[in-house]
């Protein structure tokens, strides 16, 4: 109960400040723009990973379809950017000017109806949140109200990811097909491609990320978060206590979907394209491993997991392309068999306890009168 009276306990505050330092100060100062843009790309997965912490770590619902929501968010953003890039002046060499190039290649002569509203940025921002949210609401309601959970839910979300990928690839004229939407240029007239824009977008993304971290932390600390944990451990007891288990699950799943969608939208902005290769089964499972590596119940761990796994991926596949899949496979197995709580578990078991011992021994040395005031919860220096 004492923990819940504050927004962050001491170790969480340290984690928050450390993450803020690294993302706001250290990385932007030490990396060139190309590498910083890579970090921005990795961080888009951190949004998904934070969502999975809520949904999987706390709610116990393993979704293997987060790529669907990442993709929906990303495609909403990409559609807006693509429309802006396909103005009549830019596309006057096409047989139908004013529509995206891939439509022209597929002999489509007018902008399809569902593309029309994406001329408006307000609509696009709303769609990034609402389309995946509603989609998750429909899937979640259909599944959880019928008490489908666990492995069945995982398989069905995976099937949804497969369906959406096939659909996007198959409907080339409307979606850009396997190549996706490329050549995104400006956001409301502001060029997103040059270096200074990349830096601005990076900081904007980190701000959004911290917003999501705070929301997730808030959910975790309220009664809602505790019900999620209770549900994960003993679903029937929560149900017998009169709570509607299904509604809480739907909520967690929708939040995870919305976070993933924000990540997807930031991906389209930062990386400058969106394609079905970020939607399907393989990327969806990879997103789960970020959370698993970070520690499935740790919000900060999720961000670190997304960063570290992706750094390892880039590093390994640049120098030893053969090794990367072996490494990733071994990572899956090791995380499940040996470190089910991931990095945050290792931190809590091995590092945190040593720090605590060190702190308490320092306290003892410096006399009794200080220990009272320090133990009362002054945040870490």
């Amino acid at each position: 109960m004492i923990i819940n009276s504050r927004f962050f306990n001491r170790s969480e505050l340290i984690g928050f400040v450390a993450l803020g330092l690294v993302l706001f100060v250290i990385l932007p100062l030490s990396l060139d723009v190309f590498r910083l843009n890579l970090v921005a790309k990795y961080l888009t997965y951190a949004f998904v990973a934070i969502g999975l912490v809520l949904c999987w770590g706390y709610g116990g619902i393993l979704s293997l379809g987060q790529g669907v929501f990442f993709g929906l968010g990303g495609y909403c953003m990409a559609m807006f950017l693509k429309l802006e890039a396909s103005s009549v002046e830019n596309t006057k060499i096409q047989s139908t000017p004013g529509i995206p190039d891939f439509m022209d290649w597929n002999q489509i002569t007018a902008l399809p109806l569902f593309w029309q509203p994406f001329h408006s940025l307000t609509f696009t921002v709303l769609a990034i949140i609402l389309v995946p949210g509603l989609f998750a609401l429909i899937i979640g309601t259909a599944m959880f109200k019928r008490r489908v959970g666990g492995t069945y839910f995982a398989i069905i979300t995976q099937a949804v990811a497969a369906i959406l990928t096939i659909l996007i690839v198959g409907q080339q004229g409307y979606t850009g097909g396997i190549n996706g939407m490329t050549d995104l240029r400006t956001l409301k007239g502001w060029d997103i491609r040059p270096d200074h824009a990349k830096v601005v977008l990076y900081f904007f993304e980190v701000f959004l990320l911290f917003g999501c971290i705070l929301i997730a932390q808030f959910i975790r600390l309220t009664k809602l978060g505790r019900i999620l944990v209770a549900m994960r451990e003993q679903e029937d007891r929560v149900r017998f206590s009169g709570y509607s288990v299904a509604n809480f699950k739907i909520f967690a799943f929708c939040m995870a979907a919305i976070f993933a969608a924000i990540g997807g939208a930031m991906f389209a902005l930062n990386v400058g394209f969106m394609s079905p290769s970020f939607v399907g089964i393989v990327p969806s499972i990879e997103m789960v491993i970020y959370t698993a590596v970070g520690g499935r119940t740790s919000i900060f761990g999720a961000v670190w997991g997304a960063l570290l796994v992706n750094f390892a991926k880039t590093g390994l596949s640049e120098s030893f392309p053969q090794l990367w899949l072996f490494g990733l496979g071994a990572l899956f197995i090791a995380v499940v068999l040996a470190f089910p709580n991931g990095l945050s578990g290792i931190w809590a078991d091995h590092v945190q306890s040593r720090i605590d011992r060190l702190v308490s021994s320092i306290k003892k040395k410096s006399g009794d009168w200080t220990s009272n005031s320090v133990a009362d919860g002054a945040p870490a220096e």
């Binding site: 259909a142 492995t151 398989i155 099937a159 096939i166 198959g170 499972i285 197995i333």
Partner: protein
């Protein structure tokens, strides 16, 4: 959409598409049987199932090469030996995996999913390193080539008939082992009540290991049959894994009959639709229908009533 065809043409189209569906059905059944045993009987999600299948396919390919270079006289019969070798190789690897990995995770079914996914990545890369990234195809013996003319407009390929016959016999063998043999009785006892099965003296760990091995072995046979109708690459297995899981879940996890019925309905729907629209849309519609039905009836077509 029927306007351009006469009645007779339509009839032939349905028969031919139906037959194409039957071949797809055979592959689904062979793959899904192994998965149904592992998932239905043990509750383990084996994401590496496709890779066990591909192992069987590569074993078949190696055997055919061996026969071609050393025993060309016996080449027409290599397939039967290859099938047995595929079963043994995949089964042995399966038992090894069960011993090293799966048995630590029986209480955490979602984690088996992640771990076996990791295993599938490792196996894929291993195949790529050993056999190369290019797809390989086996040379079929002479008697399997060509097709059988039923009427003027209807032809059925012989390798398709062979795969179907194989499927039927494997299915019967599995049904016999599970429902009639002493060992099958032990498997079913463990599924229904693990603690009681242990109490009456069944070695549940051993049953688990052999069940897993059997499931993977059947996947190996599926891979062997797969080489008859398509070529094999390191990632071919992954293409089928989601479909196969849907087949198993749609059929009702613990029911062999359900698995066969769902494999039949899914493959027939898909191949019939494929004639009227693009392959991708046919697949989307089929999968959507399956997911939709599963949302209405989560327990699948046939469900086993067990007191939990």
């Amino acid at each position: 959409m029927f306007g351009d065809y006469s009645i007779g043409d339509l009839g032939s189209i349905f028969v031919m598409q139906g037959f194409a569906g039957l071949i797809l059905f055979s592959v689904y059944v062979l793959m899904a049987l192994g998965l149904a045993i592992i998932f239905g009987q043990m509750g383990v999600i084996n994401m590496a199932h496709g890779e066990f299948m591909i192992l069987g396919a590569y074993v078949t390919w190696m055997t055919s090469n061996l026969f071609q270079s050393y025993l060309p006289g016996l080449f027409s019969g290599y397939f039967f030996l290859a099938m047995m070798l595929a079963f043994l190789a995949s089964g042995a690897l399966g038992m090894l995996v069960e011993w090293g990995l799966i048995r630590h995770l029986y209480k955490r079914p979602l984690d088996t999913l992640l771990a076996t996914w990791g295993l599938s990545l490792i196996l894929q890369q291993a195949y790529r390193s050993v056999f190369g990234a290019r797809e390989v195809g086996v040379e079929l013996p002479q008697w399997m080539l060509g097709s059988l003319k039923v009427t003027d407009s209807i032809e059925v390929p012989i390798n398709g008939i062979f795969v179907m016959g194989l499927t039927v016999s494997i299915t019967c063998a599995v049904a016999y082992v599970i429902y009639k043999s002493r060992w099958g009785r032990q498997v079913r006892a463990v599924v229904q009540n693990r603690i009681m099965a242990g109490a009456v003296g069944i070695n549940t760990e051993k049953v688990d290991r052999y069940t897993y091995g059997l499931g993977c072995g059947i996947a190996g046979i599926a891979g062997s049959a797969f080489t008859m109708i398509g070529s094999t690459g390191p990632t071919s297995g992954q293409l089928y894994i989601v479909d196969t899981f849907l087949v198993v879940v749609f059929g009702g996890a613990a029911s062999l009959l359900g698995t066969i019925a769902s494999a039949f309905s899914i493959s027939q729907t898909q191949s019939t639709l494929e004639f009227f629209m693009s392959g991708s849309m046919a697949k989307v519609l089929t999968l959507l229908a399956v997911v939709g039905i599963l949302m209405l009836r989560p327990q699948g077509l046939f469900s086993l009533k067990v007191r939990k």
